[in-house]
């Protein structure tokens, strides 16, 4: 059997990309055949028959020039609009429920810290026919998340979170490549995406150590790093209480304000002095070097689960955080403040 010369169409976006691709192939074939044909035809028909022959005296024609300016322009604009539509949909995640996955790229592996499944390296399990939203960052240089069979790709940058989505339409195992050159092991930074049927996926999730979710790991860290010694109602307001802070507007010293998004939370932990919350002293130590990107994700994920009111319930499942009233019961202050009495635990979680 001949090996297939075409990638599988395994996501909702793939057929759309391919349709555009075939359109362009058709246009290209047309022009290549046209040009090659005309060249050959003329070259043979008007080949030089006598040594001193010269060509006819033709200088140009406005009508022709305008025609072959406008027709390509028109075709090109079709390509542009079509391509732009596909791109826009691919890079703008639609609202609504989706499975959320964190991705961490580093030289030279992909890490997928557990949201609700298992910690994975170079392998990602996702359910079929369900939207998957990836939030990715890099620990060192630029990498790129590339799944050819899904026709998706996005560069993953250090110091920035990038969000991407896809919806697989077929179960099976697909290549995951790092497509941005990242050093010696660039071509080894490969993995696979395992697309599972919903029931298999549930079973796989259940097989994971469910209490070891991202948020609960974050909680452990929060305790071990003694964050609560400042950040709890019991700590005498040395630092702001973090409950419900996520996605809220935070007032800063000097009258400005920021939205407490992932990036802000990250900066607050790594570089607290950069933006000091209104009404507080810049006493928070930096955790740069103490926590790595993965642990940061855990901490942030934990902070996200801290719901404003006392009554809160788990939400680390396959849903958008906003609006879901249920989340995990990991918010009790009692627990956090108990950490105050024993702040000396080893600073970093093992990994």
């Amino acid at each position: 059997m001949w090996p297939s010369l075409f990638p599988e169409e395994a996501s909702t976006i793939a057929p759309r990309v391919d349709a555009l691709y075939f359109f362009l192939v058709a246009v290209s074939c047309f022009f290549v055949v046209l040009i090659a044909g005309m060249l050959l035809l003329f070259a043979i028909k008007y080949r030089r028959r006598h040594e001193h022959d010269v060509g006819a005296s033709i200088h140009g024609g406005m009508v022709l020039e305008v025609t072959w300016t406008l027709i390509p322009l028109g075709i090109a604009l079709i390509m542009f609009v079509w391509g732009a539509k596909v791109y826009f949909d691919e890079y703008t995640p639609p609202p609504g429920n989706s499975v959320i996955v964190y991705g961490l790229a580093k030289q030279w592996m992909w890490k997928f810290p557990p949201m609700d499944g298992q910690r994975e390296i170079n392998e990602l399990h996702v359910p079929v026919n369900q939207r998957v939203k990836l939030i990715m960052t890099s620990q060192d240089v630029i990498h790129s998340f590339f799944v050819p069979d899904f026709r998706v790709k996005m560069d993953v940058l250090p110091g920035r979170y990038r969000t991407m989505w896809f919806e697989a339409t077929r179960t099976g195992t697909f290549h995951l490549f790092c497509a941005e050159y990242c050093g010696t092991g660039h071509s080894r930074m490969v993995g696979q995406i395992v697309v599972m049927s919903p029931s298999d996926y549930q079973a796989w999730v259940a097989g994971g150590v469910s209490h070891n979710t991202l948020a609960s790991a974050g909680q452990t860290l929060f305790t071990n790093l003694a964050c609560a010694s400042c950040h709890s109602a019991a700590s005498g307001s040395r630092g702001p209480v973090l409950n419900g802070i996520y996605e809220q507007r935070v007032k800063l010293q000097g009258g400005q304000s920021v939205i407490a998004d992932d990036a802000y939370l990250r900066e607050s932990i790594m570089n607290p002095a950069a933006k000091v919350a209104e009404g507080y002293q810049p006493i928070m130590p930096t955790y740069q070097g103490l926590v790595d990107d993965e642990q940061l994700l855990e901490l942030i994920e934990y902070i996200k689960t801290l719901k404003p009111a006392a009554a809160s319930a788990p939400s680390v499942t396959t849903s958008e955080p906003e609006g879901q009233g249920t989340s995990q019961p990991i918010t009790e202050h009692g627990k956090s403040s108990s950490a105050v009495s024993s702040p000396s635990a080893a600073p970093t979680a093992q990994r």
């Binding site: 703008t92 995640p93 639609p94 609202p95 989706s98 959320i100 939203k133 939030i135 110091g159 920035r160 979170y161 969000t163 996605e247 507007r249 800063l252 400005q256 304000s257 920021v258 939205i259 998004d261 992932d262 990036a263 802000y264 990250r266 900066e267 950069a274 933006k275 958008e320 955080p321 906003e322």
Partner: protein, 125 residues
């Protein structure tokens, strides 16, 4: 050779012009320093740059004789500026339309708070 180019580059500018320009340049330097100490909001930057632009134009036009130079040279000067504008302008189309998420980690938004709709909650999942 080059019979079409008969415009001269030579044009004697009276000395007086140089001294006048010099005085204006010095005064403008003083002004720009003074202006920097007033709080004009975002117009501090505008004022500083306008003054700089004005000063630079004087130097170009008079000290560098562009005012009296052939068209070709004027074209090159404008061309250089135009290309600089391309570089600055088109690069900024990216930075000015980025959502906060698309910036290097966490940018304070100083001038005015973003409308809530601008915040890409959807992006964050």
């Amino acid at each position: 050779m080059a019979i079409e180019h008969t415009e001269t580059t030579e044009h004697v500018v009276p000395k007086r012009v140089y001294y006048t320009i010099f005085v204006i340049l010095m005064v403008m330097t003083y002004t720009t320093v003074q202006v920097a100490y007033f709080d004009l909001g975002r117009f501090n930057a505008v004022a500083a740059l306008l003054i700089a632009f004005f000063k630079a134009s004087l130097v170009v036009l008079f000290f560098m004789h562009v005012k009296y130079a052939p068209k070709l040279i004027k074209l090159f000067v404008l061309g250089g500026l135009f290309w600089l504008a391309i570089m600055l302008g088109i690069t900024m189309t990216d930075y000015m339309t980025r959502t906060p998420q698309e910036f290097p980690m966490s940018r304070v938004n100083t001038v005015q708070p973003l409308p809530a709709a601008h915040v890409p909650t959807a992006l964050l999942g």
